[in-house]
Amino acid sequence: MRSGCGLKRPHRVAIIEHRMATLAPAASETEPVAGVPAVRLSGVRRTYGEVVAVANVDLEIAAGEFFTLLGPSGSGKTTTLRVIAGFERPDAGHVELQGVDVTHVAPAQRAVNTVFQDYALFPHMTVAENVEYGLRVKGMPKSERRSRAEEVLDRVRLPGLGDRKPVQLSGGQRQRVALARAIVNRPPVLLLDEPLGALDLKLRQEMQIFLKELQRELAITFVYVTHDQEEALTMSDRLAVFNAGGIEQTGTPADVYEHPQSEFVAGFVGVSNVLERGGRRVTIRPEKIRMTDESGGDGEAGTIREVVYVGMVTRYVVDLDGGGELVVVRQNLETSSQEALAEQGKRVRLSWRPEHTYEIEKEGT
């Protein structure tokens, strides 16, 4: 599916056109071609000895898309990213960039750039030298690459820090230098390997918004690896949920969140609320469940086993008389923490609208 997040808003068009003119890839071979996916993986498999890191992954990422590979550690998402970058050679399958098979092309010749999890800034070079590295390798004259580097450092909000060494920067600043070093080359596809993993929550949330804006303005494809489901839902146009070396589900955030196709996806993207009733396994999102007093109306009866006060909301774990448990989330509109915590052990009824339940396949079938 082709996304046009930026294009939905007319006032963005001018910005995009401006950016296309100044920052779009210059070489025609790296120009996005309409209809041709920016990245295509078919039947990719990668093993390390006995361990299968990636098993038979098929993936199509459209040009200009913010695409996230989401999954727990060891699920194969980072290996998949490294296969796209060329750092890992697949045992089987093909990698295409802009419709060109690059399976046997070295990383240095691939039209992608990577933001590494540990940033991988060269410690013996200044920030400016780091940012200019890719341009210097291509043989760009010094004055031109200097101005390009300055422009990009401005763009990532690090103006005037070009003469510092990476060790003199904070974690957040280093992260943005790594970003600048990659986008200064104007790649059609940018690969990001858990780039915000080392930052604290507040900075991470700021950077999520910043990265999303940057992706819209540069109008380039982002392939983003994360294990943080909230991050994946906030930022992506589409995402693929990885588990045990394979893709469980691909779709838009709303699609994956509201229509999880497997128990794993239901559990990993959000809270695992799976009930088995009459031989059917269904999932219900915790915020879609209405909790009332036992006497009030119909629904499944149960007992509140646990109450977790999380500031904005309160999370209840309810043991159902009919078997199983459900997590219920309620906004703390008028509830105080004292009141919420006092509800432990209370008898309640849970009800939900049938259209908010989704039938999922049984685990292992």
Partner: protein
Amino acid sequence: MAVDAGAFATGPSLRRARLRLSGLFWRRPWLKAAGLLGPPLGAFLIVYVGALAILFISSFWTVNSFTSAIEHTWTLANYRLIFAGGQPYLHIAALTLEIAAAVTVTDAILAFPLAFFMARLAGKRTRALLFVMVLLPLWSSYLVRVYAWQAILSHNGALNWALNGLGLPDQNVAYTNTAMWIVFSYLWLPFMVLPIYAALERIPDSYLEASADLGARGVRTFRAVILPLALPGVVAGSIFTFCLTLGDYITPLLVGGPSSQFIGNTVYRYIGEANVPFAAAFATIPLAIVGVYLLLARRLGAFEAL
């Protein structure tokens, strides 16, 4: 707190004393440092720095040529003699310096590929095997190794035997400066391999991947990323090879020729002739060279890699 106090009051006296001591160390961390560092530092100051100071002071004295007694009058005569024209001393110092420099460069060239292979390409077992092979010579006596080289390089030795076998003419390497250069390069090679290995091993794979990702091929990555990051290791290794060669006198004695006089040999000779002041003055020369070299090395960041 209460439990501790109880133990303090009622426990056996030895245990009480130990508790009191550990409490004292906890309250005064500098006492712990002083206890650990005091004895070795004291010995170091007296034995090492003291000996060097006496050496330096005695270099300004002279020996009475009739009585062979040391005259404790301050003079620069020894240094003047070293730098005087027509004397062999500057030539000896220059030869020592040249060989030390040649050995350092040779070892760097030999050690780098080996260390690179060990640090970045070899598997665990190959690496362990290479480590043993690099370190093995250090477990045998220095003298035995030099004599072994004497046997290899001598006129009827293994070198000429091999050359004859290949139909090549004899080489008269034994008892020349070339022999010294070969033997020194062999002796100090492990001291160059290990620091370079340490420096190369510390480079994360992601740096090399980042370089490739930004379009650089192997040679470029080597020149722009690997070499600058390994340089402190090379400099650290060169401190060993350079200083060890500069101070040696046994190898020149055993495999060098009549003109292969090192600073060390001259110092040795003058001490034998009971002219300690001149020996001291001449021994100050390599000390000064090493001092300058260490300052340069520090500038190149060598001590971060040690």
